[in-house]
């Protein structure tokens, strides 16, 4: 980050609130980093410099007037470009959406961040229409992993992760249907949160699969993640899936430790489908937490299949007219998958819906005996950009569809999950999923905070 300026969201907000630095100075420094680093990282597709400086001036003016600054006063951030930004077409990583009318208003989460004093620097890239685990995009190029520019960021929120991991911004917004926050968090060494389905409003965001889609935060620490998540909470009637529940602030909770929490490590499918170094990272996290119990979740492979079918069917129905009229303008990496979904018999989709209720009953039983389940987020660390296959469970498989093999099954129910970076002996991090009961994001973040404080998210040597 820039010399002399704080680099965490919490420190920036405190410095701006105390008058140690102005929001305008922080914003100008952040825009300078974007100008310097984005050509190398390719995270930002659109930089909203004028808007950012206007927002910063408004924060500074409010402080001069004596107003209480918001909890993210002066904190620069990036938004995955599926969030509406007033005055811009919502690209969602596509070429086709360039022809959409500019958004008439900001997405609700962008509005909430503005109300909290945060400064939007722009829209960041993503896999086309969020149907992606790699961070690559035929129209706008791949976001580069700041930890190793030859490797994938993961997707589909690859631009969000790259923007944060490169230090251009301390926090970002992303979305997670089948792993699109958790996978990039794992590959780029960040903390991410997939909140409970229905917790955060998706109003003003471009969907992929509305029965599974969630939106949420990235950060470099659990404190920043919790603060950002807390600002985002609250019902909004514009999203029919958003549940009217009181906000549950998590920042005051994260330091409560894990005493009394019943934590288990996911075995079976999650061990079979992860490489040894990813399992070593999982076991290190378990040892750090003093966890020895293992839970084998029944039918988890079917849960992954059901999530696949939901996503393929719903997303293809969403894009059916675009597939009819502009199929050639899709990214080749998404086009054939969307077309396959459009041809899917309804009975397959309905079987997947029926299985969802069955899997909920299975998980309900498991959570009678534990509060948290730990699982690897990805089977391996960030792969090289050009890698096409991978060996899992003794079988050589296509890489791309299997990057999310461990995130996709737990997406089906919409459970809250924190992604936590864990370094092993090598130079690249792994990600751990901290999975809780519905609506218990606070427990996810408490566990994540203990792992962070133990230094697991810091590269060794």
């Amino acid at each position: 980050m820039t010399m002399g300026l704080p680099n965490s969201a919490g420190a920036i907000a405190a410095a701006v609130a105390n008058g140690d630095v102005s929001a305008c100075d922080v914003t100008r420094a952040a825009l300078g980093r974007v100008e310097r680093d984005n050509p190398r990282i390719n995270a930002f597709v659109t930089v909203t410099s004028e808007r950012a400086l206007r927002e910063a001036e408004a924060v500074d003016e409010a402080i001069r007037r004596g107003a209480v600054p918001g909890p993210l006063a002066g904190v620069p951030y990036a938004a995955k470009n599926l969030f509406d930004i007033e005055g811009l077409p919502t690209l969602a990583g596509s070429k086709i959406n360039r022809d959409r009318s500019p958004a008439a208003a900001d997405a609700v989460l962008v509005q909430r961040l503005r109300n909290a004093g945060a400064i939007l620097l722009g829209g960041v890239g993503m896999g086309e229409y969020a149907y992606d685990f790699t961070g690559q995009n035929a129209h706008y190029g791949a976001a580069k992993n700041p930890l190793d520019l030859t490797r994938m960021t993961g997707g589909s929120s690859g631009g969000s992760a790259a923007a944060v991991a490169s230090g251009m911004v301390p926090i970002a917004l992303g979305s997670d249907t089948n792993g699109s926050i958790r996978v990039p968090s794992a590959f780029c060494g960040l903390y991410g949160l997939r909140s409970t389905y229905g917790r955060l409003p998706r109003t003003g965001s471009f969907p992929l699969c509305e029965s599974i889609d969630t939106v949420g935060p990235f950060a470099t620490s659990t404190a920043d993640l919790a603060q950002l998540y807390d600002v985002l909470q609250g019902h909004d009637a514009g999203d029919p899936a958003c549940v009217e529940r009181p906000a549950m602030p998590t920042l005051p909770e994260i330091g409560k430790g894990v005493d009394g929490l019943r934590i288990a490590v996911a075995g079976g499918y999650f061990r079979t489908n992860a490489q040894p170094d990813a399992l070593a990272a999982l076991d290190l996290a378990a040892r750090t937490l003093g966890v020895s119990d293992e839970v084998d979740i029944p039918e988890v492979e079917r849960a992954r299949a059901a999530a696949y079918l939901h996503t393929n069917a719903e997303s293809s129905a969403l894009h059916l007219n675009r597939l009819r009229e502009r199929a050639k303008d899709f990214d080749p990496d998404t086009r054939e998958r969307f077309l396959a979904g459009a041809l899917m018999p309804a009975s397959w989709y309905i079987a997947a819906q029926r299985f969802r209720r069955r899997f909920e009953e299975i998980m309900r039983g498991i959570f009678q005996n534990c509060d948290i389940i730990l699982a690897p987020a990805t089977p391996f660390c960030a792969p090289p950009m050009d890698q096409e296959t991978v060996v899992l469970g003794g079988k050589e498989l296509l890489l791309r569809p299997n990057i999310g093999i461990l995130t996709q099954p737990v997406s089906l129910l919409g459970l809250p999950i924190a992604a936590v970076p864990v370094y092993g002996e090598g130079p690249l991090p792994f990600g751990i999923q901290v999975i809780a009961k519905p609506w218990r994001e606070d427990l996810c973040l408490r566990v994540a905070h203990v792992l962070e404080n133990a230094g697991l998210g810091v590269r060794r040597g």
């Binding site: 079918l309 054939e336 077309l339 041809l343 997947a352 819906q353 029926r354 299985f355």
Partner: protein, 65 residues
């Protein structure tokens, strides 16, 4: 679809009914993804005992003021 059926024939017929134009160059990958979804569906259907579960998302009629 049953094993032995031509997936290409299924793609051609279904795409035609849906008004989708499929270029020949796209068909090999498209067939791969159709067969992948078929495999996923088979796995789900094999779980059995699904008939008592919700057959679709619950539709809730909202109040009309």
């Amino acid at each position: 679809m049953e094993p032995g059926d031509s997936v290409d024939a299924y793609i051609d017929a279904a795409a035609s009914r849906l008004g989708l134009s499929i270029e020949d160059a796209w068909k090999p990958r498209l067939a791969t993804f159709v067969l992948l979804a078929q495999g996923m569906a088979k796995l789900v259907e094999e779980s059995g005992a699904l008939e008592g579960s919700d057959s679709a998302s619950i539709f809730r009629l909202r109040d009309i003021p």
